[in-house]
């Protein structure tokens, strides 16, 4: 009975200390934005993009992207100082042979390009990021290796005539 009574305030105190420590830790380092699994899936196996793109309000930034067309996306990360993601992005000029997806991934914004199926060649598009209105022009090179041709259909051999089939 005595032990229980003595333990109660001590446990409450320990919990309060722990909570305070957690709150302090959260205040010290701003919590990183959540990254969702779906935003990490489906990347093209070979996707080469610049690690850092310097965006400028004065003139459009230019970036190159090269990827193998295996059905996956290839994305360029951009961010505001912090880093923190842009509020939103808009498509200023569409790619002729693919699609663009601008999405927040954690603390940054990622500009994804999906080449059309079976497309190989060059493509380009421009996006604008807000706030700030910085433009990013992306020149894309897509490598596509067509799958091996399907096997030829079996040679036509006329069925052997049998007496039973004769009229």
């Amino acid at each position: 009975m005595m032990t229980k009574a003595a333990m109660k305030p001590l446990g409450g105190l320990a919990l309060a200390t722990l909570l305070a420590a957690c709150a302090q830790q959260q205040q010290a380092a701003a919590p990183a934005a959540r990254v969702y699994a779906v935003d990490l899936q489906g990347q093209a196996k070979n996707c080469t993009v610049p690690a850092n793109v310097a965006l400028s309000a004065d003139r459009p930034a230019e970036a190159t992207m090269s990827l193998d067309n295996d059905g996956g996306w290839c994305g360029i990360f951009v961010a505001q100082p912090g880093p923190k993601p842009f509020d939103y992005g808009t498509v200023r000029s569409r790619p002729a042979n693919g699609r663009v997806l601008i999405r927040k991934v954690g603390d940054r914004t990622r500009v994804d390009y999906f080449p059309n199926a079976a497309f190989g060649g060059t493509d380009n598009f421009t996006v604008q990021l807000m706030p700030g209105g910085q433009e990013l022009k992306v020149a894309v090179t897509v490598a596509y290796t067509p799958p091996p041709a399907p096997p030829a259909p079996p040679a036509h051999t006329p069925p052997a005539r049998t007496p039973a089939r004769r009229r």
């Binding site: 699609r99 663009v100 059309n116 497309f119 069925p159 005539r161």
Partner: protein
């Protein structure tokens, strides 16, 4: 007897040949896009509206959806008209029906996408409201929708439109009779 078996075999070969030609020569596997930029934008904006509706109903964010509709009412109304006109132009008297079918399929496709995300859907896609409400103005709505890639899964923009399509080989046409 051999005469009877020959035509189906020839048809099968023609089909194989046609399919091989089609896959080898055309970009038909690409996600279909509207013939004009204007029509493409109309479909993308309609898809964005549907996506936000799915987010609102799934995540109990009806108030945010209402705020979105209220803010962009003129643009959304104009887009809705253009969307209806597209189906009337392409499908004539059955335009309204085709319009309804497309909207239903679009909503189903977005709901399926939501289901695939499971518990991540609301925290992740709920952010769309924050984004869309931070646009500078109505002029940004269509370019914003263009960067959301909402027409790639399950539905295709301008489905049934007289968009330029690669010519099908004669063999395929004969075989399909």
């Amino acid at each position: 007897m051999s005469k009877r078996t020959s035509p189906p075999r020839r048809r099968a070969h023609a089909l194989l040949l046609g399919a091989a030609l089609l896959s080898a020569t055309s970009p038909a596997l690409a996600v279909p896009r509207c013939a004009t930029e204007t029509d493409q934008s109309v479909f993308e904006l309609e898809a964005l509206k549907t996506e936000l509706m799915v987010v609102a109903t799934t995540c109990h964010m009806e108030d945010r959806y209402n705020a979105f509709v209220e803010r962009y009412k003129p643009t959304l109304a104009q887009n809705g008209r253009a969307f209806g006109q597209y189906f009337t132009r392409v499908h004539g008297r059955t335009g309204q029906r085709q319009n309804d079918i497309f909207i239903t399929e679009l909503a189903n496709a977005r709901s399926n996408a939501a289901r695939q995300l499971g518990s991540d859907f609301c925290p992740r896609n709920g952010g769309l409201f924050t984004e869309v409400m931070s646009l500078r103005g109505e002029a940004d709505l269509a370019p914003y929708a263009a960067g959301k890639d909402l027409l790639s899964a399950g539905v295709t923009a301008c489905e049934g439109a007289p968009a330029p399509r690669p010519a099908r080989p004669a063999a395929t046409r004969r075989a399909s009779r």
